[in-house]
Symmetry: C2
């Protein structure tokens, strides 16, 4: 049997591309996992729950965490802070879990730099910009100005798809979910350069 090694799955993509729906769909089909919950200073949206969608904190508390180097990565987006705490990630990896990040391209960059060996990254997008606009409008949760900011951001983010391992075009949700399950399962089998030399030693010793 393959060792249950910890691994990281990064999901990025425009707000409105359906990352959250995809994650809900796959969560029961990918073995032991830990969904990394970001910490943010942005206001809670309707329907969001503290500790489920985000850890909502004050800017003061966030800056304190930055100073104490508690973040694996953090960034400011539209004037709000977003960050990922290191501690729960390390623990989940040690327990052999698949750690899932829903972060933006800046966050991916930071994770890639620090934990690239064990990271598999996926960019999720709509089939077209038009489709993205329709979904954001249809969602009805955001003000016009925020939607425009998201569109602007999306245009910049898609420019960086080539930094990702995989691309999923979320046209049909079930199909996209099955793709993502395949990638998530494969992520655990990625050759993590750090453990291979140990594996080879054991493989030969058991002769």
């Amino acid at each position: 049997m393959n060792k249950e090694t910890g691994a990281i799955l990064v999901l990025s993509g425009p707000s409105g591309a359906g990352k959250s729906s995809l994650i809900s769909k796959i969560i029961d089909h990918i073995g032991p996992h830990y969904f990394s919950i970001s910490t943010t200073t942005r206001p809670m949206r309707e329907g969001e729950v503290d500790g489920v969608h985000y850890h909502f904190v004050t800017e003061e508390a966030f800056k304190q965490d930055i100073e104490e180097e508690h973040f694996l990565e953090y960034a400011t987006v539209h004037g709000n802070y977003y960050g990922t705490s290191i501690k729960p990630v390390k623990e989940a990896l040690k327990d052999g879990k698949l750690v899932i990040f829903d972060i933006d391209v800046q966050g991916h960059d930071a994770v890639q730099n620090r934990l690239g060996d064990i990271t598999t990254s996926v960019f999720v997008t709509t089939p077209s910009l038009r489709e993205l606009k329709q979904r954001l409008d249809g969602r009805g949760t955001d003000a016009e100005e925020i939607i425009e900011k998201r569109i602007h951001m999306a245009k910049r983010e898609v420019q960086r798809i080539s930094e990702y391992d995989f691309l999923i075009i979320n046209d049909d949700l079930d199909e996209a979910a099955s793709y993502l399950i395949s990638i998530a399962n494969a992520a655990r089998l990625k050759v993590p350069s750090l453990e291979i030399s140990q594996f080879i030693q054991e493989w030969e010793a058991n002769a």
Copy 2:
């Protein structure tokens, strides 16, 4: 829907690790594909069929193909030539098929150099060297001397696992097959750097 783009899946690993059994198991679960059949000058084994397991040719014919640059890669192993013809691979890729290669580490090297962008590679091995010996002995198809050569070769091949994208330890065949199906499906979604700029253009244009 995700575009049906051609992609390459390379399988390597010691003779006796179960690559052929794995391929038979997954072949009905991975969509349109083309299994690349190698050309070789080695003698046909009992139970092998020309054009199914290999294209068996004379050394003279093989050398002719080398001269005419018909091979994507070729190598000599245990004094026999093995090679992969370019033409059917190109055609299969154009048709959006997943091209599967069962080749050794040298062959992987060559494919990686020429088609690395669209290649996903998997190293398949037994849980231990002992298990490999048992399987090779149990197979009963090879002379003692050939088995020893294979063992020697296997020890060298596992040293190069870190050059592969994924590692599958074939302990339980069904489990290993399900892992391989995940990787094969993910392989089609690998961000192929060449097509991304076109995708981005179309994505933005459709606004």
